[in-house]
C-alpha cells in the first residue's frame, strides 16, 4: 500500500525526522489560506499522487507570490498529472502540499528496503541525492552505500557512522549528529510500520546546517496491513483503477493491462505464463487475473464480471489447471458464470488436470459457444486466430 507524501511527512514528524513546514490543501482558496500560515516566499506547491517523477511531470512548482500559490493549486487540483511513471492518461490530483521553500546546501538519498537475497532490511545512503536512485545505481554504483540490519540487534550506531562518515567533505559535527539521528529514526519507522520501502530523496542539509527530509515516500507491506490499522485509514484509492478495486474487494488479483485479450487463470505463476502465451501468439493481454489456486465457481463468476467490465476485451482465454479442485466442478462454474454474465465475445477455454474429460464434456454439452482447447499450444493458436480474424474484418 502506498501513502501520499504529506501523510508520510506527518509520520516522519512524529518519529523525529525533520520535514519542512507545510500543509495540504484540497482547493485553491484553502491553498491561499495555508500559505499565510507558512513562511515564505518562496513556497513549494507539490501535487499529491501515487506516482514518482512528479517534478518531471510539472507536479512540483516553486512560486514567489501568494497569488501564484493559489493559481498553481488551481491548475494542479482536478487535473491529470502525467509523469514518467504514469500511463499517458496520468493520475488525477486531489490534494496539493504547500511547503516553505528552503535553502539547499547539499542533497542526499536515504532509503530503506528489504534486501531479498540477504533477508534483512537494508539502509541505503547516497551522496547523489535528488536524482533517480536507479540511475545512480546504473551509472555510479560506487555512490550507493548500504548497511544491512541484523534483526537480532536492530540498527546499530556504528552502521550510521559507516554511512555518514563516508561523506566528503564531512558536514559539521552537529549536522552529522542530526543525520545519524535521522537514520536511526528512519529504521524505527520502517520496522514499526511494516514498510516495504521508505525513501527520502532528497534528504538535504540546509545552508543553516539543518537536516531536512524534502521528499517522503513510504510503502507498506500489504501482508502486514492486518496489524497496521492506523495506516490503512490513510489509504487513498482515488487514483486506483476501479476494476482493480472491485477485484481487490473480492480477493482477486487483477491488474489491468493495455491489450484486448482477457485472461482468467487460477494461480499467479500460471496467470503470468498465460499472459506471455497470449503475447507469444501475437495478441496483447488485457489483464492479469489470478482467481486463486483453489478457485471456486463464485470466484470465476466475479472474474468474468471484472474482465467484462473492461470494454476493450475482444476475446477471453480461460486457463485452469484443476488440481484439488476438479475440472468437472470448474467446468460447471465456467458454464454457470458464462450464462450469468452473458458473454458476447469469444471464449476460449483450456482445462487440464483432475477429471478433465468430464470437464470438457460439460463445456461441450452446455450449448454455449466455447472454443475448447486441449492444450496450451492449441489455446495459443485459438487466441491468434481470434486476433487475425479481427484484423481481417
Amino acid at each position: 500500500m502506498k501513502i501520499h507524501e504529506y501523510q508520510a511527512k506527518e509520520i516522519f514528524g512524529k518519529w523525529g525526522i525533520p520535514v519542512p513546514n507545510g500543509r495540504v490543501a484540497t482547493d485553491p482558496d484553502e491553498a491561499g489560506k495555508v500559505c499565510e500560515m507558512i513562511n515564505g516566499p518562496p513556497w513549494v506547491v507539490k501535487a499529491q499522487v501515487h506516482a514518482g517523477g512528479r517534478g518531471k511531470g510539472g507536479g512540483v512548482k516553486v512560486v514567489m507570490e501568494k497569488d501564484a500559490v493559489v493559481s498553481t493549486a488551481k491548475s494542479l487540483l482536478g487535473s491529470s498529472l502525467v509523469t514518467p511513471q504514469t500511463g499517458p492518461e496520468g493520475v488525477k490530483v486531489n490534494q496539493v502540499l504547500i511547503e516553505e521553500g528552503v535553502d539547499i546546501d547539499r542533497e542526499f538519498y536515504l532509503g530503506m528496503v528489504v534486501d531479498r537475497a540477504a533477508a534483512m532490511p537494508a539502509m541505503i545512503f547516497s551522496p547523489a541525492g535528488g536524482m533517480s536512485i536507479e540511475e545512480v545505481a546504473a551509472q555510479t554504483p560506487e555512490l550507493i552505500w548500504t548497511e544491512c540490519v541484523d534483526p537480532a540487534t536492530g540498527w546499530m550506531p556504528y552502521q550510521a557512522r559507516n554511512l555518514a562518515y563516508r561523506l566528503d567533505p564531512l558536514p559539521s559535527t552537529e549536522t552529522l549528529r542530526e543525520l545519524i539521528n535521522v537514520m536511526a529514526n528512519l529504521y524505527k519507522v520502517f520496522m514499526s510500520l511494516d514498510c516495504s520501502l521508505v525513501e527520502i530523496n532528497p534528504l538535504i542539509i540546509t545552508k543553516a546546517g539543518k537536516v531536512l527530509a524534502l521528499d517522503a515516500k513510504l510503502n507498506i507491506d500489504d501482508n502486514a496491513l492486518f496489524r497496521q490499522k492506523e495506516i490503512v485509514k490513510l489509504e487513498d484509492t482515488s487514483g486506483t483503477d476501479p476494476l482493480e478495486l472491485t477485484a481487490a474487494a473480492y480477493n482477486l488479483n487483477y491488474i489491468r493491462l493495455d491489450g484486448n485479450i482477457g485472461a482468467m487463470v487460477n494461480g499467479a505463476g500460471l496467470a503470468m505464463a498465460t499472459m506471455d502465451l497470449i503475447k507469444g501468439a501475437g495478441a496483447e493481454p488485457a489483464n492479469f487475473l489470478d482467481v486463486g489456486g483453489g478457485a471456486t465457481e463464485e470466484m470465476i463468476t466475479k472474474g468474468f464480471e471484472i474482465i467484462l467490465g473492461d470494454d476493450r476485451v475482444r476475446a477471453i482465454l480461460v486457463n485452469i489447471f484443476g488440481g484439488i479442485l476438479r475440472c468437472d466442478v470448474l467446468a460447471r462454474g465456467v458454464v454457470a458464470a458464462a450464462q450469468k454474465s452473458r458473454i458476447q465475445v469469444p471464449l476460449i477455454v483450456r482445462l487440464e488436470g483432475t477429471n478433465v474429460d468430464e470437464g470438457r464434456k460439460i463445456l461441450e454439452g452446455s450449448g454455449l459457444k466455447f472454443l475448447v482447447a486441449k492444450d496450451l499450444s492449441e489455446a495459443a493458436g485459438l487466441v491468434a486466430a481470434q486476433v487475425s480474424g479481427e484484423s481481417g474484418s
Binding site: R116, D150, A224, M275, G293
Partner: protein
C-alpha cells in the same frame, strides 16, 4: 532416492483443525503420507482425520517422532509456528501459508540460520516425492515416480509443468515449490545442491518468475558447479514494472527482476529456456536427449 522427504518421513500438520489443514491432511493421508500428528494449541487430546492432535509441536515430536512439519497456520501466527517447529527438532518445515508479513520472515530467516533445519516456502505448494510421500497441497495424481527434479516459485504453474512432464513420459524424483514470497526459507541453489548428490535425479526443471534475482544466482551456481542437465522456464515476460503480480515476490522494482534479464542469465550459463509454457515438455525432452 528422493531429496528431503521419503516414505519414512513422519509428518506433523500445524493447524490441522483449520479448514485447509483438515482438507489437506485427508488428501495427504490418501496419498500415503505418514501423517503422525497434528498441532492446534488448546485442542490437544482430540483426534482429527484419525490423527492425534497435540497442543505443541514438541509433544508431536516426543510422542510420535515427527520429523517433518506442514504448516497451515494463518499469516499472523505463521512465523511463530515455523520457529516452534524448528525449536522442537523438526528437520524439514513446509510452510503453505500465504500472506506472512515480510518483516516476520526476516526474523524467521535469522532464527533458522544456525539450526539444522530446512524451510520450504512460505506461500508454496510444498514438496512431493511421487510414489513415496506428499507434504503439501499439490494434486498427487498428476505426478509419476521418475528421475526429474522440479524446483519452482509457483503453485498451479508447477502442476502444469509436472502435468507436461508426466504427459511426455518423464516421471519425477522430487518436486519442490519454494514459494512466491520475497523472503523464502530455501532457494533454487539450496535444492539444486541436493539434487546434485541424488543418484536418482537425472535432470532438473527450474521454474522461475519475475522479481528478485534468485534465477540469476541459480544460473551462476549451475554454470560453476552443477553438471546435470537443467531446463528452465520464466513466467512474466509481459508483466509491467511496479505491479505485484499475485505473488508478493513477483514484482519488477527499481529496474530489477525482469523476466528478460533472468532468461538472458540462464542462457548465458548454457541452460535451455523453454520459449513458452506450451513448449516446456518438448524442451525438457530435447535437453534430456529423448528426442
Amino acid at each position: 532416492m528422493s531429496i528431503l522427504v521419503d516414505d519414512k518421513s513422519r509428518v506433523v500438520v500445524q493447524g490441522i483443525t483449520g479448514r485447509e489443514g483438515t482438507f489437506h491432511t485427508k488428501q495427504m493421508l490418501a496419498y500415503g503420507t505418514s501423517v503422525v500428528g497434528g498441532v492446534t494449541p488448546g485442542k490437544g487430546g482430540q483426534v482429527a482425520e484419525g490423527v492425534p492432535v497435540f497442543h505443541s509441536v514438541r509433544d508431536a515430536v516426543e510422542r510420535e517422532g515427527a520429523d517433518v512439519s506442514c504448516i497451515f497456520v494463518p499469516p499472523p501466527f505463521a512465523a511463530d509456528a515455523v520457529m516452534e517447529a524448528a525449536a522442537s527438532g523438526i528437520k524439514v518445515i513446509v510452510c503453505i501459508t500465504e500472506g506472512i508479513p515480510t518483516l516476520d520472515m526476516v526474523k524467521v530467516d535469522r532464527f533458522l540460520k544456525d539450526r539444522d533445519v530446512v524451510l520450504i516456502g512460505p506461500n508454496c505448494p510444498g514438496i512431493i516425492s511421487p510414489g513415496k510421500t506428499k507434504v503439501g497441497i499439490m494434486p498427487g495424481d498428476i505426478h509419476r515416480p521418475g528421475r526429474m527434479g522440479v524446483i519452482s516459485r509457483s503453485g498451479t504453474l508447477t502442476y502444469e509443468v509436472v502435468g507436461q512432464l508426466t504427459g511426455v513420459g518423464l516421471g519425477q524424483s522430487t518436486c519442490i515449490g519454494i514459494g512466491g514470497d520475497p523472503i523464502i526459507g530455501s532457494s533454487f541453489i539450496d535444492h539444486l545442491n541436493r539434487f546434485k548428490d541424488d543418484p536418482e535425479t537425472n535432470g532438473v526443471v527450474l521454474i522461475g518468475e519475475i522479481g528478485g534475482t534468485a534465477e540469476e544466482e541459480a544460473a551462476e551456481y549451475i554454470k560453476a558447479s552443477f553438471s546435470k542437465p537443467v531446463t528452465a522456464f520464466i513466467a512474466g515476460k509481459t508483466a509491467p514494472p511496479g505491479k505485484r503480480m499475485g505473488h508478493a515476490g513477483a514484482i519488477i522494482a527499481g529496474g530489477k527482476g525482469k523476466a528478460q534479464d533472468k532468461i538472458k542469465a540462464l542462457k548465458a550459463a548454457g541452460i535451455a529456456v523453454a520459449p513458452s509454457l506450451a513448449e516446456l515438455g518438448k524442451t525438457v525432452l530435447k535437453v534430456m536427449g529423448r528426442i
